[in-house]
Symmetry: C2
Subunit: 231 residues, 2 copies
């Protein structure tokens, strides 16, 4: 059984679940993947924790993780990029493998040596795990300019308050700015961003949906383990 | 914390989760409702069990229910109509209240004495709990004709195999037939049916989305219990 540590935020967790179901090859209910989903929106703010302005998320993440493994989860997916700041500590606490969202996202990048734009919360950017993984692979990356990051923050905050129009408008401005910046790809490295992107025309570069790529990795893992059955 | 006993089917559970998040008044993650979702698509076929053609669903439903209450769930929602055939046995097994999807759906019916069409699996219709609850309230109901029920079955089966076009075509035929039958409302008493209905024009009668109404009841219950918090 696959465990999903979610709630960060809840709309992104629901989107992850929807994508996972849609990606599963199944002709009947019984061919789908058994799941246990812990959706704990009360997990403290990830960016505040990473930047040292708020309480650590680790106790809440560990409590959710233990609820999943106690319930029988044998692998874990976390549809929240910033929470991967604590990936090593979480993995050390359980035997079940915790799929890494950045590995799934980076695997989906177009080949070549073009620049990758990282769109994420200030916490994820400060944590630096995307930058380290990309650099280790020899990929060039950049982060939004200081006057662009507030629009990234606004896309994310607007989705969390269910303001789809506000989120889409902020993202459209970023897509336009990035289109002039000679990038090959943008990684939507916060799982709220794809919820805004799905209502916009595709930008003229690869826009990597980290929630979709993690769902793809989770389905692949679950099918390899034989967790779904035949009708 | 709210527990969701799901997987019957998985797309309907994801739709329930999405509707529950959308219905929750929240300005930030922390104002959303904490959830634990057990999605067990391997639960035996409900209709086969109710009609006596297959194994009982009760052991699988009880196992999922215990996983939720062991994990801390203090109220339960089951986004599957047919599973409510076992509602009394499930409720007897746990202290946490199990919201009843038929009560939520019936509360959303338009007032008056018009006839209510019940669209459901053959298992739900054979179980009879909708008919009993409607009759107890003095509401007139009818079920699809013998030559219409195969189209209801097809809507449901098509959603379970991700054939949205097939599901929508079958449902459009039913909407047209029911429009000539002087009904006031149709209860989509299988949680797969609304996934097809959302891609069709609204029919000329109230079409009650049982998944949406259960989500509404769950949000109301959770907020009354104070399970969400302020930002």
């Amino acid at each position: 059984m696959l465990g999903i540590l979610g709630g960060m935020g809840p709309a992104a967790t629901a989107d992850f679940f929807t994508k996972l179901v849609a990606l599963t090859p199944a002709q009947c209910d019984q061919e789908h993947i058994p799941l246990l989903i812990s959706c704990l929106p009360q997990t403290p703010d990830r960016t505040a924790a990473i930047l040292g302005h708020g309480p650590s998320c680790l106790p809440a993440l560990l409590a959710g993780l233990r609820r999943l493994t106690d319930g029988g989860a044998q692998a874990i997916a976390i549809p929240c990029n910033a929470s991967h700041h604590w990936h090593a500590q979480l993995q050390a606490a359980v035997a079940a493998p915790i799929l890494h969202i950045a590995d799934a996202a980076i695997a989906a990048l177009p080949p070549g040596d073009g620049t990758v734009m990282l769109m994420a919360t200030r916490g994820t950017l400060a944590s630096g795990f995307y930058q380290r993984k990309l650099s280790a692979l020899g990929r060039r990356w950049q982060v939004p300019a200081a006057d662009e990051q507030p629009a990234v923050d606004e896309v994310i905050a607007a989705i969390k308050r269910a303001d789809l129009a506000g989120a889409s408008a902020a993202l459209q401005g970023l897509w336009t700015a990035f289109a002039g910046a000679s990038i090959d790809a943008a990684v939507m490295a916060c799982t709220e961003i794809p919820l805004a992107a799905q209502h916009l025309p595709a930008p003229p570069f690869a826009a990597i949906d980290t929630n979709l790529e993690l769902a793809r990795a989770a389905v692949t893992h679950a099918i390899a383990q034989g967790w779904n059955r035949t009708c």
